[in-house]
Symmetry: C2
Subunit: 351 residues, 2 copies
Amino acid sequence: MDIASLETPVPVVDLGIAEANMRRMQAYADAHGLALRPHIKTHKLPGLARRQVELGAKGITCQKLGEAEVMADAGLDDIFISYPIVGEAKAERLAALAARVKMRVNADSSAGIATIARAARHGHEIGVVIEFDSGNKRSGVMTVDEAVALAKEAAATPGLRFDGLMTYPTSAASAAFLAEALPRLEAEGLNPVVLSGGGSPKALQTHELAPVNELRVGTYIYNDRNMVGAGAATWDDCALTVHVTVISRPEEGRAIIDAGSKTFTSDLTAEGAAGGYGYILEYPEARIDRISEEHGMVDLSACTRKPQIGERLRVIPNHVCPVSNLHDRIATTRDGEFLGFVDVAARGRTL
Amino acid sequence: MDIASLETPVPVVDLGIAEANMRRMQAYADAHGLALRPHIKTHKLPGLARRQVELGAKGITCQKLGEAEVMADAGLDDIFISYPIVGEAKAERLAALAARVKMRVNADSSAGIATIARAARHGHEIGVVIEFDSGNKRSGVMTVDEAVALAKEAAATPGLRFDGLMTYPTSAASAAFLAEALPRLEAEGLNPVVLSGGGSPKALQTHELAPVNELRVGTYIYNDRNMVGAGAATWDDCALTVHVTVISRPEEGRAIIDAGSKTFTSDLTAEGAAGGYGYILEYPEARIDRISEEHGMVDLSACTRKPQIGERLRVIPNHVCPVSNLHDRIATTRDGEFLGFVDVAARGRTL
């Protein structure tokens, strides 16, 4: 079967490009003494997670227990859940995971530590990493006092192992926080073995940003329009393209493609709505300026050459991670040859 | 099992509210002599599609062949694909559908008609409805001349039946187009049996907007924040809520919920980014002002009472249709009682 005969819309991953992206990040981590712990949220594929580990990654990162369960089923045996886990049902699932693989979990509250402690009562030690804020204002404690208090609480809780600190993304604010927190932890007799930072756009500047020793990155394996916009990748580094078909040409200056928010998501770039919903490789001047669930409205007014109905186009999405989450399977290629479909095994694991 | 013990995030559909919404729209369609042909894109559930037909709907509407295949498998036997179908592989699938259920398909180009004709060559007649634009600038021909030419082409093509015209959404522009197109079609000896309009927000004004005789609506069965914003529903008419849990409270004025774009999508309301990403029933003054894939950042600064970590909240999403598409299953309730999970059978059918 030929790639050009696959029905569209279909996400296509060039495994050669993905391999080069994995190797580049691993080489960077190795050169700077960082433990690479890739976030599987981007690909959600056990096969690529295993490849990341083969190339030198020290375990993987997941956001949800459901993702970790899929990865543990596939043989990944060192998993960090970089996301607060709260509640009894989740504690039971975490306990089941800790019984079979090495688990480390984020906490930014006493309630989070209590959930992990409940899981650890089943007899398997679980590592705890306290999340602090680096200006992102998502989860993570805002003060060194809170971080130290939670670290002490984790260290004092039976079954838990205080592993260290994490933040997202790594930034100058991370360095400032660590400069204050590390002596405070030392004074308490606490040893933060893990100082975990993350974020693909500035991953290759990590060593200049903050003294972390672990790198959590996801998007780098595929790259996307946001990564190119941030100067962190080129179009040639983008491993995932969505192949689409022009299904309507209602006006001279407009084409409709068979892919909208159900294929690309509605995520925008830093440009906002003006940036549109994806980059069409064959028509760089075209702009996917509006989408509905299944339609992409393409403004062709800046294009001298214009696509016809039935023509296939390749689109680099704005944000590639949630694109993986929308598709049951992806097509894989190497050197332009279709290798087959791969199920996106951890797709939809929001629990 | 109790609803409050289900792990979050989980979409929960109140079947009593959905039933009332279905009955209200059916009563409107009946009162105005409109054939109701619900769009299954919102629920993607064969069970609710069957219920819509039991209550009086004249067949269903799907956007993609993959959705139609799921619905045909479930016994739905009169399906309109209101979306341009282009290409050989899709023609084969359409032929297989036409062999087992009554099929009608949108076309807005000769290439679209050619695809349907190719499908019909397998021996089963397929109805063709020509799509025209009513100001939405999505798919659909822009001129009456084109509509008449395509209608003639469909009528003259072996195996095809010219069924009529469709547009989205129904508007004053639809009326103007029909006023010009209908005499032209009559002059050509063409009889547009179907004049199909659509769109939930103005569905109950259809009879005042344009002389269509078929109503395609999807969102009305669940309703959402956009429908409430348009004055077309109240919060009490919203059948689908997403149950979430507060997992972090990093600051006095901020809570983090365990649901982001992987649960709600990034779709905004008419307010744009200022409108946030959902409406929290328990805290109407709160605002989900930012999201990432798994985090919802909630601004609590306007709330006098504030939620604690572990507290469960119910969120009405901005746009409910793509929420169905993100979840493998939904929980169903009636009068507050948990009835069970239902697989979202037509989820992810982008092909």
